[in-house]
Symmetry: C2
Subunit: 190 residues, 2 copies
């Protein structure tokens, strides 16, 4: 995280990581470019070379968080052996992510460019990688389970909304409940 020479070498990435640490420690309202610069041992105007504005910096932090979220989901996909369990696995990874990054929920809900289009017939391709990943993985499984094809988009959205809502409740109060929330997901799946 320190710099030795005049040029840092990996500033952009480390500014983002510093930003995430700041958000997780003090909340999404306490993101500061100057503090991030200080954390990286660099002058207050150095970030300007990598982010033209604070908003652009904030976007980069959000993008990184979305990538991290995607990694959590991708990991269980890679490890999965029983296709019938993939939806439950992703649900658990979903909650686990927001447990590890409690402020991420507030961050994501504050994002405006996420497209999760709804339709009775189909779910259009989303620009939000975690959701898109969930759609791709769960669709064939639900179909195989005999869910009518035209019901699948709604089912997927229902699952995503439910787990999102739970994660949101958890995130707001620090995940102080370890009960069997998975039963709710099961009731939707079964």
């Amino acid at each position: 995280m320190e710099k030795t020479s005049y040029h840092h070498g990996n500033l952009k990435q480390e500014l983002i990581l510093a930003g995430i640490r700041m958000i997780e420690e003090d909340g999404i309202g306490h993101l500061s470019l100057r503090k991030a610069a200080a954390m990286c041992g660099v002058s207050h105007a150095a970030p300007k070379s990598h982010f033209q504005s604070k908003e652009e910096f904030e976007e980069a932090v959000k993008d990184y968080v979305a990538e991290e979220f995607t990694r959590y989901l991708q990991e269980v996909i890679d490890k999965n052996t029983n296709k019938n369990e993939i939806i439950r696995d992703m649900g658990r990874a979903f909650v686990r992510f927001f447990k590890d990054y409690p402020q991420a929920y507030a961050l994501i809900t504050n994002q405006k460019d996420i497209r999760i289009c709804l339709s009775e017939k189909e779910i259009q391709k989303s620009n939000y990688a975690p959701f898109q990943l969930f759609v791709e993985q769960s669709s064939p499984v639900l179909l195989e389970w005999g869910i009518p094809e035209k019901m699948i988009p709604q089912k997927i959205l229902e699952l995503w909304a439910l787990v999102s809502g739970l994660a949101g409740i958890y995130a707001m109060q620090g995940f102080n409940y370890e009960g069997d929330w998975m039963e709710m997901v099961n009731r939707i799946i079964d």
Copy 2:
């Protein structure tokens, strides 16, 4: 919104309203005490008499939003004639509120002192009025419908989480879908 004499007369309330307008126009990250003061035609340090810090001001805005949310739910309770429809009515009011206040979702998920305690046996009394209202109204109805008593807390939480998740998705993309999301709620209730 203007002041004529030296004393404003209703500054605290109008500062809060100005804060909500700012948030709804520019997002939750653009709340400013000085701008709120300017909107009310008052000097930059005037808010200090009513809010000791920006954080305290922000809390007051959040509290007001929670009260407004409660009013939306209370209204359908007061107007309700068929008890069997109260859960659906509240679900619709829920979504309607976040349609009228799209930034409210980001605001609420950024709140830390909301207590919605989960338990397999009971839902403890919540300090969040809208949720508490929903618990009180839906519990007897669900019981009357023959839901096993020990399943009721989970069912309530499931409904709340689902509608929250949907409202969140809607809020992120501007409620551009007018389809029959209510079917999802029905599937949980029935």
